[in-house]
Symmetry: C3
Subunit: 333 residues, 3 copies
Amino acid sequence: MTKRDLLSAADLTREDLENILELAERTKGKRSSQILAGKTLGLLFFDRSLRTRVSFEVAAVQLGGHCINIFADREMYDLEPDDQAVMDGLAEESVKDAARTLSRYVDALGIRQLRRTGSWEEDRREVLLHAYAKHATVPVVNLESTMEHPCQAIADVMTMRERLLRLQGRRITLAWTNNPLPKNIGPCHSLLQMAALSGMEVTLAHPLGYELDADVVQSATTHAERAGGNVRVVNSLEDGLRGAEVVYTRSWGSTKYWDDPERETMVKRSLQSWLIDETAMQTTQNALFMHPLPVRRGVGVTDAVLDGDRSVIYEQAENRVHAQKALLTHLLG
Amino acid sequence: MTKRDLLSAADLTREDLENILELAERTKGKRSSQILAGKTLGLLFFDRSLRTRVSFEVAAVQLGGHCINIFADREMYDLEPDDQAVMDGLAEESVKDAARTLSRYVDALGIRQLRRTGSWEEDRREVLLHAYAKHATVPVVNLESTMEHPCQAIADVMTMRERLLRLQGRRITLAWTNNPLPKNIGPCHSLLQMAALSGMEVTLAHPLGYELDADVVQSATTHAERAGGNVRVVNSLEDGLRGAEVVYTRSWGSTKYWDDPERETMVKRSLQSWLIDETAMQTTQNALFMHPLPVRRGVGVTDAVLDGDRSVIYEQAENRVHAQKALLTHLLG
Amino acid sequence: MTKRDLLSAADLTREDLENILELAERTKGKRSSQILAGKTLGLLFFDRSLRTRVSFEVAAVQLGGHCINIFADREMYDLEPDDQAVMDGLAEESVKDAARTLSRYVDALGIRQLRRTGSWEEDRREVLLHAYAKHATVPVVNLESTMEHPCQAIADVMTMRERLLRLQGRRITLAWTNNPLPKNIGPCHSLLQMAALSGMEVTLAHPLGYELDADVVQSATTHAERAGGNVRVVNSLEDGLRGAEVVYTRSWGSTKYWDDPERETMVKRSLQSWLIDETAMQTTQNALFMHPLPVRRGVGVTDAVLDGDRSVIYEQAENRVHAQKALLTHLLG
């Protein structure tokens, strides 16, 4: 049997996603089968985490399993992702050997790494994640990378289905908001792909310079059309929100200014109107409000929206556990 | 059902304390019921810990549960405790959202944070701990804060009951000792309140400038008198020890010099006689010797006292596990 | 019953080693008995770890137990190993009190500490490890120290037995290789002793200045001769490899230049020929290739050797789990 990784939303077919969501919905809040009894997951964190780390460990525990969390920068040494390197630099071990070794110990690996070297072309390649996936003989799960956060997106789609039932043809707007510090674009890429796979009508609303990755948008457009939906881009928040049934927001960093954060800070000064408040929400079709968290309250989104009765932000957070239990069952069960 | 927190000794009634202690005594050393099977505790450490962290995790494991330890300063990002803040500073998430999210994942939260901003009035408010308690929908347990360490105090009272059986009317002296680095006052505040609740005759022996918090002393005095005991303060170690049946010692930092550590260092030079040795212990009524640890051996207390046959320091440490198992049963069972 | 520690390979008799290996071989890959159910291991890491940490936790989980990992430098405070010290320095607690306290909580302790103070005579005494072993009342296991790594060596011997069946009289060469950064000598000391205990014919091949510890070599020689083997030293890699049935390699730091790393760097410039490649391996008797990892690929050993069909490096890594399950059963079962 080939091992199944989940590095990108693109690793799931429409049928895979459907199966995972149905299992998550069926087992939510139910006593779990102990399918991970005696099994261990090795989770490598190169970046900070609250939701992902805790929700994964809770998911594993509820299935009878055990997580070994490794805070890689402090608890391990530098690893060399390149197979061909002569290792006379800082790295004391190759990803190849670490991945092969860990595969003898644990039943699946999870990896979080958000790179910011200054070169978007370099960072979007996600060299470390793909080196682990290449050499590990157990499934590798992306716990958020530069490009993707598929575990978040599965929970997001699950949350929409709970409220809207059928997603095909429903209008979701993925809206950029302003924020002093750029956040990772990964959750948006994954959500876009899974919404497309679900046949939703997706509007991407962002200023010029904040385009999502062109390959991801292209692939999502293809999938959306195949599933009866579509993807369009607008550069006005007002146009984006009008008539939306779901508003999903996140303040992501520009890949265009990836190597020039100071210029991005300047650009953002003229983008103060990219803010979701109650007035903005009134132009939607009584839309659900979604955000993957963390969120800076009062910055980009007002408290009234975050705490309003159309907000499902804590349901999204909670569904991480249920979605991940279903995912682990899909990968390892 | 309202959730029960344990932020302060004051959160326990006399009956609560009695129930917890009876359960701890009854189940000490016995095979544990698995009341936490499939349950998880999220423990947030903003400060270092040995006893609390390990004893809590062992308690949870013996009850079938699982602890997720989060070393907050390194593994999470800054959190904003103020509900009303516009979050354009360092904090990337509000305590509100973190507490609400974690409450969807874990069955209880524990928090250790010892603040030292330089303002005692600010630090004694324990803003972060109270923000978590306000927003979490699961029980929050204080794992040691600026003001309190109730889990230590329950274990301390348990240890006294094992040796003295009935505590009402027994004479305990809580004695300050000298130490190059100030330690947290919290364990003293919690022990004072629980000794008072148990009807003990409590003597606080400390130099001028080392007063316990006035509100805590006031409340403890009321509780002690109601329970048949009393609280008195002396500023002489000799007076404090005379006739004591229990000597409980700890070198706490002065809240008076909270904003001026250099002045405290000067003041302490004249307090070298605040030391517990065998000669000092001979003036007591063959008193038990107690210390919550860690202790600097030879500094404040001699090895002969710490290792003497009236010392119960390791029993106190061990009883952390049994007391916390009973506490978790009380809160979650 | 006296507690059993495993601080050094010398703590195991030939019969102990035989029993542990037989148990490991018998239970490898089998469903584990839950002999650690409800039990906890406290693992103190003063240095980074991948294999040891993960393989120990997996071993414990498979036996139904639970590891509490403590990253000592960040999560605890300084501890004083000397019983007699007056603790007016940095240390806030004695090893005595920490070890006694932890012994009330956990069923065994593991400790990793690699010291490099600049004095080999000081560091080889392993003061902290021995202070824990002295004061703990539960078994203490060495998770790699300045002098030893017995858990690695048990897995190494297990791996050789799987391939060679009977070890008595088999020729193993323990060969130094060149490496920009010196690695710990401990795995070599432990492997030497266990190979000797198994009656192997051991060749130590290293340049002048890279001698193993004289006491360890002396003791291993005695044990080897008693068990029908022997120990010899050569200062030529070519001589060392000729006719070997097992090549075990590691680039260890010189204890002679322990206080003068710059001089060692100079010395190593003339030792570039200490490299294991396919040509070097052809002079052996089709030897197994072993390495305890981590390894710098292309430095000291070529990829062709590491990935060749005589390499058992991942079997060594995997056997850590099986050997440690047997060890834990031996110590605690």
